[in-house]
């Protein structure tokens, strides 16, 4: 059974975001593999190590730097990568992204048993793509899972999701879509020998033409949504310290919550 993990190259969590000409200023940004995707890669590799999966394929759509994100997935233990890279993809929204990813899946052929995603990308933070892909393919999906049991012979998977006050258990037929979050597993540190081995694992490049898509179907032209403007969150004001005896502090705090910011 082949499983596919979707990997996005995103700005490092410690990036200080700057804007330039109403776009993100990318000049000083360092990129990493989306941390939520790491849970997905780890889970897929563990399934392979447990003998339930034969091949783990990592797919990314993005500019050249996305190759590094794929290389990180290969270092954790994915077998090969697919990079969808084309200048006309610039400006694509989540719908186009999902459409392109589905095309790449079809192009890669061979049946897959499961599609694994991170629950969200830490940059765009839309949570859209996995659901859109599942919908386009008509596959069952479980989002934000914290436990996964796969039985390839029986053709099913059981996934647990955290919901308010408890857990929800989903049984799905394969192939299915899952999105991964913290708690599912503890991603390993890729070891130096495996990083060196990843260097020699194949990454297949696809352009839009390779996927039988036209420029009008992707990028801004193919998108339903468009980003009109960016703005930074308002600057954090200096905190205020409430001092005094416990009773005084509580009273001051309640007064503040009730009267000043009116949340209670």
């Amino acid at each position: 059974m082949k499983v596919v993990v979707f990997c996005k190259s995103v700005p490092d969590t410690e990036t200080r975001v700057k804007l330039k000409d109403n776009r993100l200023d990318k000049s000083e940004i360092k990129y990493i593999l989306n941390p939520y995707d790491e849970f997905a890669v780890e889970e897929a590799v563990r399934m392979k190590e447990a003998g339930k999966v034969d091949e783990v394929v990592a797919i990314s759509m993005g500019p050249e730097r996305a190759r590094e994100a794929l290389r990180s997935a290969l270092a954790i233990g994915a077998d090969r990568g697919i990079l969808i890279k084309d200048d006309v993809l610039d400006g694509s929204d989540t719908y186009v992204t999902a459409k392109v990813l589905v095309k790449a899946l079809e192009k890669d052929g061979a049946e897959y048993g499961m599609l694994l995603f991170g629950q969200q990308a830490i940059d765009g933070d839309t949570w859209h793509v996995p659901g859109q892909v599942a919908e386009m393919l008509g596959l069952p999906q479980a989002g934000s899972i914290i436990k996964l049991e796969v039985d390839p012979d029986a053709g099913k998977a059981v996934a647990n999701r955290l919901v308010e006050g408890g857990e929800e258990v989903h049984e799905m037929s394969l192939p299915c879509v899952v999105t991964c979050r913290k708690g599912l597993n503890e991603p390993r540190y890729p070891s130096l020998p495996n990083i060196m081995k990843a260097k020699r694992k194949p990454i297949q490049d696809y352009s839009i033409a390779d996927l039988d898509l036209s420029p009008e179907e992707v990028g801004k032209a193919g998108s339903f949504t468009e980003v009109l403007s960016y703005s930074l969150p308002p600057k954090k004001e200096a905190g205020r310290k409430v001092e005094g005896e416990p009773e005084e502090v509580v009273q001051a705090l309640v007064k503040f919550l009730k009267e000043e910011i009116k949340v209670i």
């Binding site: 190759r67 590094e68 990180s72 130096l192 060196m196 260097k199």
Partner: protein, 388 residues
């Protein structure tokens, strides 16, 4: 090129796997070591349970070929790993330097096939930790004047003498010991359980407190013939070739420590308000920050170029001396400035910079003191030996 300081946009000169090696090492030390280091430093202890974790990452055996269990990575990658390890702590980096450059390198380069197969795979997994015994109570900067002897006897050698200031000695399973035979200096692998081999720990040291340091006492210590490193020529060439690699890693490591201190000072002075304004808004503070930033950037350019030359086989030992000398001295100055900019907090282990400052007293001393490297560069420039 190191997170936090990459003013000359060096990132684009790194290969994919180099970035992953750097980032993985950083993630590891940030999560697994930085939170516990203050307590260990305070008590002068080293958590040996860390060794299997470090080994699992492949940090013991970075340049060792895969057939002996290593990663087979480049010296440039080794340098990046040293940088990230020492961003955390010089003692942590020392553990890895000694294992890789001072123990595995001579076994790989001068060892017999049997020695390589016997020791290297277990050194990669951390089951076997090595130490390197060169310095003696009466032979430091001038190791050729060593007094430790190896006398040929039937079936082996009898070693007598004292080594001092030996990193990892108290926790090591093997020691690569340099001793004088009738022909000159040779290297020997001495195993922990050999009768007449002791490694008392050196206490009360105020630097590199995360790294166990000891003596090696050799009293009629019998070492079989098969433990002589057969490929090393007689004399100081072999131990110096090891030191050259370790010094290279120390230079990279110092950049990590310096970058840590600079970033800490920058963030601290931006947050800390005195006289109604952030410290970073005072001209005197900005000059310090500008100087630190510039010095770290200069050192980065140096080790970057040295790393590439090293892998091309074009790095001379004089270049390595220059990098070791200037990077460690720079890191010492940057740590000193950072310590000052953090005010009273600067002397607390909670803020880490005092630890780096204390560590730099060792990194500017071991593997050739600052002065010794000046003499090496001076001899290269003038052709005149000013050592004696």
């Amino acid at each position: 090129m190191i997170k936090g300081v990459d003013f000359m946009i060096m990132e684009e000169f790194l290969a994919e796997e180099e970035k992953i090696i750097r980032d993985t090492t950083r993630k590891f030390v940030e999560k697994e070591v930085l939170p516990i280091i203050g307590d260990h430093y305070d008590k002068g202890t080293f958590p040996t349970e860390l060794i299997p974790k470090i080994a699992q990452l492949g940090l013991l055996g970075i340049t060792t070929p895969p057939e002996y269990g290593g990663a087979g990575a480049s010296y440039f990658s080794y340098g990046l790993a040293c940088q990230e390890l020492e961003w955390c702590d010089s003692g942590l980096r020392s553990l890895v330097s000694v294992q890789n450059s001072l123990c595995m390198y001579p076994i790989y380069t001068y060892g017999s096939e049997e020695q390589k197969e016997k020791y290297l795979p277990k050194m990669c997994t951390g089951e076997t930790i090595g130490c390197f015994g060169l310095t003696e109570p009466d032979a430091g900067s001038d190791p050729a004047s060593m007094r430790t002897t190896a006398k040929k006897v039937d079936g082996g050698w009898v070693l007598n003498g004292n080594k001092i200031w030996i990193t990892n000695a108290p926790i090591a399973q093997i020691a690569v010991v340099w001793a004088k035979t009738e022909e000159g200096v040779r290297g020997f692998i001495v195993e922990r359980d050999t009768p007449g081999f002791e490694t008392p720990e050196i206490k009360k040291k105020m630097s590199l407190r995360f790294s166990p340091t000891g003596e090696i006492v050799l009293e009629d210590c019998f070492v079989p013939d098969e433990n002589l490193l057969p490929g090393s020529t007689v004399g100081m060439k072999a131990p110096f070739s090891c030191l050259n690699r370790a010094r290279y890693g120390i230079a990279w490591g110092a950049v990590g420590a310096a970058a840590f201190c600079f970033e800490k000072a920058l963030n601290y002075t931006k947050d800390r308000v005195q006289f109604g304004k952030p410290l970073a808004s005072f001209q005197l503070v900005q000059r310090d920050l500008a100087d630190m930033f510039t010095e770290v950037t200069k050192c980065q350019l140096l080790v970057y170029r040295l790393g590439r030359l090293f892998d091309e086989g074009r790095a001379s030992h004089v270049m390595v001396s220059m990098a070791k000398k200037t990077c460690t001295m720079t890191a010492a100055q940057v740590a000193r400035k950072a310590r000052e900019l953090l005010g009273g907090n600067g002397v607390s282990l909670e803020y880490h910079v005092i630890r780096h400052l204390c560590n730099m007293e060792t990194t500017t001393t071991y593997e050739g003191t600052d002065k010794i490297h000046s003499l090496i560069i001076g001899r290269y420039l003038t052709g005149i030996n000013a050592f004696r």
